[in-house]
Subunit: 299 residues, 2 copies
Amino acid sequence: MIVGVVGLGSMGYGIASSLLRGGHHVYGADVNPAAVARLRAEGAAQDDAIAAASTINALVIVVLNAAQAEDVLFGKNGFVANLSAGSVVILCVTVAPDYARSVAGRCAALGLHFLDAPISGGSVKAAQGKLSVMASGTPEAFDKARGALDAMAETVFELGDSAGAGSAMKAVNQMLAGVHIAAMAEAITFGMTQGIDAETFMKVIPRCAGTSWMLENRGPHIVAGDYTPHSSVDIWPKDLGIVLDAARASKFAAPITAAALQQFLAASGMGLGREDDAAVAKVYARNASLTLPGKSGKS
Amino acid sequence: MIVGVVGLGSMGYGIASSLLRGGHHVYGADVNPAAVARLRAEGAAQDDAIAAASTINALVIVVLNAAQAEDVLFGKNGFVANLSAGSVVILCVTVAPDYARSVAGRCAALGLHFLDAPISGGSVKAAQGKLSVMASGTPEAFDKARGALDAMAETVFELGDSAGAGSAMKAVNQMLAGVHIAAMAEAITFGMTQGIDAETFMKVIPRCAGTSWMLENRGPHIVAGDYTPHSSVDIWPKDLGIVLDAARASKFAAPITAAALQQFLAASGMGLGREDDAAVAKVYARNASLTLPGKSGKS
């Protein structure tokens, strides 16, 4: 099938590569022409995605946030006005459930199918076509999206026929993931105040009841003192912001998530927004006058 | 060897059983005579532990908290005064690192060895002799304790030759474990406000980056509506209190742990202290007017 991928960052580029490998005819679009050129060199269509929009069967949106999604879909030169009725928009961006419902409604009014389809798994799995997708939408939307999903994802959680459910599940996952990263940072630095170095922490805790997926994934970055961004600090003010906005709208008190958000905001405020999100440990280290492992441990 | 086990609750009883199975001569002691009688029926020594204290090689303390440990070791009719020089006290209670150091010092003054040896793994693993032990103490203390540890534990983390390190690592583990239970409760109930039921949550999240050991262990209790205590709510005000006392003494700000503690305190204040610690979800449910699954979901 003919698939457009809008947003060729590390996730979007990986998805586009997986779609090419899956035998699809792929158009790439990005504000960075170098990313588009690189994808073309790997076999993507040579012409402009927006010019070819009427031929596209499925449009996969992998931009950073709702504002960018709004722009590429409904802005000046947006895709929605150029897609043909019966095609499907697959929104992979982490957005508020209400926003996903809003896009679904506007797509439906134009005869377009819509899949609320946030993704999880990171850039390595994106490039391998092994993402997890938390998807909701009409059976027709799933049907139209199936070929693209098969190439992108190892697991597709089908969460019902209403847009918003996919984004809600993603919000729940991000809530836990963000809390677990910050809690790992809190615990590893607390341990240092009690005479436990980061390396010993990472030898023991992954084998105990205190472990989490994020602890095992991000803890080694702290031990190595390597804050090369796999996923950056600035993801979390955005994603936990989505969670807490939805929580507030539902009159739901989420004190642990709120505390975790403050720590990521402090990391961003310290100028660490583009470092790996494990750098939230530097907030704790600075506050407690600790030196983390590695050259970049001094915050 | 001759081993005394003081405190025959679910953890201590399991340890005593494992020691018996390991071929040791075991004395049991507990304020509840029925527990002592039951252990004797399974092959433990028939006479009083305190009367036989001078023959004991290793004394394993598995009471609830530091106050009880202080009483059984140093109180009226306490064990320490009756043990023979060269024997070892193995303190398995979750206590402040400072308290473990204090016991170590007082034992040393009497010629007794001391192992700071908090345990992890729950009552099932205790009964199987498969606990994890986070242990620190002198090489001589490890040496004297080895036979008992071999029968009790699958994994012994050796954390150095100073008392306090074992308790510090346990505190770090409890910090994470407590935060992860409360975060799971926060996320599962937040999900309910967004239209995701608890069962769907537990189908999806354990396969995503938001998972934790505690989420996978305690989440099913919420789905089943079963709050039979495996580990009770009231453990957490105690254990997170130990963490936050040590943190305060070290001028370490731990906002996420502090937020989690408040939720367990609220659960205890609601009268749920003796329910399974997954009942912290009832705090969130009450605050957000949600009904959790199961008959006991209405808080």
